[in-house]
Structure formats: C-alpha cells, structure tokens
C-alpha cells in the first residue's frame, strides 16, 4: 500500500474532525447549550472548507488563509466557551496543538504567546477555584509538549536539509548543486574532449492563473525527466526555471529533445515556454554558460 501523503493526512483529519465536532455539537444541543453547539458546528464547517480546499483548491494561498481563519475561530471559540461554561475550558488545549500543526515554529510561538494571557485570564476569571490550577497545568503541559515537538522537528529538518540534493516537489536537483555539477562536467568535457550543453527552460508565470504553481512545476519536471538520458542532470532554479546539463550532446540533438519535452508539458504553458542553449567553448566557466543560456532564451 502506498504511504499516505501529507495532504491525505490533512484531508483525513478534516473529515474525522468534522464528524467528531458534529457529534459534540449534537451533545451540546441535547444539554441545551445551543450557542456552544452552533459554534462547534461552525468550527466543523471551517474544517470541512479546509478539507475541500486541499482537495479542489487551485491556489495554495487560499488554503493558508483557511488555516488562519480556523486558528482565529478556534481562539475565539475556546475563549468564548470557557467564558460561558467553565467545564468547556478543554477547547483551549486545542489552540497550541493547532498552531504548531498548521504554522511554522516561529509563527506558532507568536500565536501561542498572544493567546496564552487571554486564556489564563479566562481560566482565572471563570473556572471554579478547585480545578483552576489543574486547567492551567494541562494547558501549560500541552503547549510545552507541542512546542518541544516542533523544536525537535525543526532540528531534524535543519540537520537533514543540507544533506539533500533534490527538490521534494519535482524530484529535480536543487539549484545550489548546479554550479558544482557544471564545474565537474566542464572539467570532464575538457579532459575527454567531448561536447557539453546547458539548456535553460523557463515558462511565464502569468500563464498559471487558476493552477497550482507546484503542480505545474511537477508536470514540467516530469516532461523534462521523461526525455532525458540516464546521465543527463536537471535542476530546478528559482521560480519556474529549469536547467539541464547534457554531456556528449550537440545543439541539434538537444533542440530535438527539448521540443519533445515542451510538447509533453501542460498545454496552458506550452506557448509561454522559452528555451536557451549554451554550448561549451574554450575558456567557458559555469557562470558564463549559465549566463549565455539565459541570454539565448526564446520560444521553440
């Protein structure tokens, strides 16, 4: 069975979360807490919208806005319910978990720091004295654990990222490896007296209206990879650019390959795609090759 992706998990979380929140809303309705039931349903609705955006969403930024909306709503809801009924203080426990789950470590810390004084004020004002300390303890413990989890995650990522050479989204090599690899290939080509070609591919970002940037980049990378020989290397550069190192190739053969690649790319960007070639000459360096390929950009 194929492992679940991050998006699968988020969708699953939204579905199960909505079901559980609806059940809690129903229980609240049965006990006569209609306002809380309504708020709980609203929270479930935002979760459903979030899930729908992950499935059908065209623009990633909207998804981020839904996350922010969810967190704000959760903050308001948790404080409001604790204010109405002290026994509902447990909703506050969700805030730090959601903040560290949905946002980066730094943003999440700011969010929790902003929320905590309000939460503490509400706990002290409206919770019965007998369980006040316990609620404060549980909130502090959950916030600290979520923070520690995020810190451990951050450290692991910090350690692993420098060891990685390829882009997680497209599978292309990372830009920082282009120059060293090009340098190696120039040395080899000069030593062996063979040809070397650098291809630069870019597509106009205006053409991506209504489509996810990542999915477009992924499709382009797939098209490029499909026509490469096993020893050609391709790199994802900033924005929508790709660079391909093609050893033992002349411009004519490269042009045929690149035309095949472009024809395989999504129809919406084919007309906006530009390609530049740079062939290795005596005295060329990696920078001069990249610059030359960039200057030669034109539609194929």
């Amino acid at each position: 069975m194929q492992a679940l992706t991050v998006n699968h998990i988020r969708i699953l979380f939204c579905v199960i979360g909505t079901v559980i929140l609806s059940l809690i809303a129903y229980l609240e309705y049965l006990t006569g807490a209609n306002t809380i039931a309504l708020f709980t349903l609203l929270l479930g609705l935002v979760l459903t919208i979030n899930g729908a955006y992950i499935i059908f969403g065209k623009q990633e930024q909207v998804g981020n806005h839904v996350d922010t909306l969810f967190l704000i709503l959760l903050a308001v809801f948790s404080l409001f319910t604790a204010d109405i009924k002290a026994e509902h203080s447990y909703w506050s426990y969700f805030f730090p978990i959601a903040a560290f789950f949905l946002f980066s470590l730094r943003t999440a810390i700011w969010c929790v720091l902003a929320y905590t004084p309000l939460a503490i004020y509400i706990f002290i004002q409206y919770s019965p004295a007998l369980i006040q300390a316990q609620i404060l303890f549980s909130y502090a413990a959950i916030s600290t654990i979520a923070l520690f989890l995020a810190m451990v995650k951050s450290r692991t990522n910090q350690l692993l990222e420098p060891l990685i050479s390829s882009d997680e989204e497209t599978g292309a090599q990372l830009e920082k490896f282009l120059r060293p690899a090009l340098n190696t290939e120039i040395n080899r080509a000069e030593r062996e007296g063979t040809g070397l070609l650098l291809v630069y591919i870019t597509y106009n970002s205006n053409s991506k209206k209504g489509e996810k940037t990542t999915s477009l980049a992924k499709l382009c990378a797939q098209a490029i990879e499909h026509f490469l020989r096993p020893f050609d290397q391709y790199y994802r550069l900033q924005g929508n650019d790709f660079a391909i190192i093609m050893p033992h190739t002349n411009s004519h053969n490269a042009l045929i390959t690149v035309k095949q690649m472009v024809s395989e790319m999504p129809k919406s960007i084919q007309g906006y795609t530009q390609v530049g070639f740079a062939s290795l000459n005596v005295g060329d360096t990696e920078d001069s090759l990249i610059q030359q390929a960039h200057q030669e950009l034109k539609h194929v």
Binding site: L4, Q134, F137, M151, R155, T156
Partner: protein, 325 residues
Amino acid sequence: MFDISMEKEPALSLLYALIAGAMSLLCITHYFFGHFDVLLIQLMTIAILIFTSVFLFLNRNRAMSQYINLMTLSSVALLMQYQLNFNPELTMHWVYVFPVISYFALPLSWAFLLNTTVVLCTLSQLIFIISTEQTLKFVFIYMLISMCSLCYAYVNTLKQTNLLKLAVTDYQSGAYNSRYLLKKLHQEIARSETTSRTLSMLAITIDDYQQIQDIHGKNASNRLVKIFRHKLIALLRAGDDIFHNGKGTFFILLPNCSMEGGVVLKERLLKEMEEEHWGDVGDLQLNVGLASLNHKESAESFLDRASGFVHKQQQTALRLMSFNN
C-alpha cells in the same frame, strides 16, 4: 528570534522534568484544597517522571529509552485511571494531556495502542461515575486531541522519512552516501555504454574502523573520516566522486580511467596515505580493491566486485598478521 531546535532525547528528558516541576506546584494547590488522595497519586507520578528524566539524561542507548518511555507512560496511565475514582472532573483535564505526550515520546503504533487502551479504560470507569452525555463528550474530546497529536506526529515522521530518502550525503564524512553511489553508478554505467569509455572503481577500507570507533569514540572517528575524505579529494582528479558507506569504506568512481590508470592511482593513494599522520588514531591500515567495468555488467555486480576485492585483501592481510604473530 525563536530559531530554536532540540534533539529528541534531551528534549524528552527536559520535558519530563518540566512536567514534574509543574506538577509539584499543582500538588501544593491540591494540598490547600484538601485533595489528599489525588495529591498522593500525583506525588507518585512526579517520582516516576523525575526518574525517567534523569535516566534519559544519562542514558545513551536509544532502544532502551523507548522501553523506558513506554514503561513511564504506562505507569502514568495506570495512576490516571486510579485517580479517576477519587476526582473524575479534575482527572479528566489531566487525561487530556496524555495523547499529546504519548505521541511525542513513543513510536506511532505504540502510542496508538496505549491511547486506545486508555480511552477504553477511562470510558469503562466514567460511565459509572458521571452522566452518559459527559462521558461521551469526554471520549469525543479525547479522540479529537488524540487525532490531532497522531496526525501531527505522522506528518512529522513522513516528512523526515521523505527527507532521509532524498539525502545523498553521509553526515559523518561529508562524502556521498551508499544510496547515491548506486544511483550514480547506474548513471555512469549508462554513460560509459553510450560513449564506450572505461569506468573503474576504487574501494578503500580503513582497517578496524569499528575498533577505532569503540576506542576513540564517535566524534574522533567522524573527524577521521572527514579528514580522510579531504586527503582523498586532494589526490584525485577534479570531478571524481567519493562515496562513504558509513562503515569506514570509501568508494571512488573513476570515469574514463582504465585498469592501468587505476593501479597507478591506487599505489599513489596508498603511498600518500601511509605518510600521513592521523593523530591519536595512529597509523591507518588500508585495504584497497580496484575493479574495472565489464561489458554489460550491472551496477550491483560492479559494486559487489569492488567490495569483494577489498574484503579479500582484508582477509589476506589478517592472515599475514596472524602468521607474523
């Protein structure tokens, strides 16, 4: 600001200590409010948490830490269940913390099993103590917190696994790792077949690498392989790639290099390395294997052949040594 990060073991140790500290403060309020039964149970929890915190701080065996975490959390869960009888309203807030800490400290499957057990046990107790609506609400809230923690932990694990798969560098030496060696071999073999040029591979093993690690420690052995790689780079042609399998064996891919060229390089490498001083480690005994790509040979068999030559040389060297002794 907030560029903070932490290793898991020290983080867990500190976390247990912090929870124990906060719980001690909580115990003071329990004392003032007269919750003496709860107080006693929480004092026991504090003792367990402090023990685990100290153990994790001192312990260096990761496998052992997992079992200690499991034992600690199981004990805490048991005490929670016991505490439910005395003050359910108070204890329910303490139980909500459990899924978050268990998914942080334990492997996902263990944490899932433990949480399922906890929710079932709590449900079976609460149903006789509080109303059905309250019990159901508790179960749903617990499930929600548990699901959030599970998803968070799963996404983290997934991301880390993906990153590990994408990693091409061996963190000890800074050379490329074994996984990338196989990928690069496939590329170079395809290139060699297209261009009809030779491809050779040198395999170099540092004798008794494991022993060096045991005697001088991991940091010293990491330093050694790092320096070793730098020395190798200085002796190679620009563009020859170096790989390290993490166990003291380096592989050097030599495109467009014949067997004869490889032998010359091997002799030069051995001579230069013999003259080097390796600090506390002393003299290094190196075994070198050299293989040239055969026609239609696969990457795996090419790699096996090069590794086989080193292994053979290692055995011969050992035999000679035992003969001398």
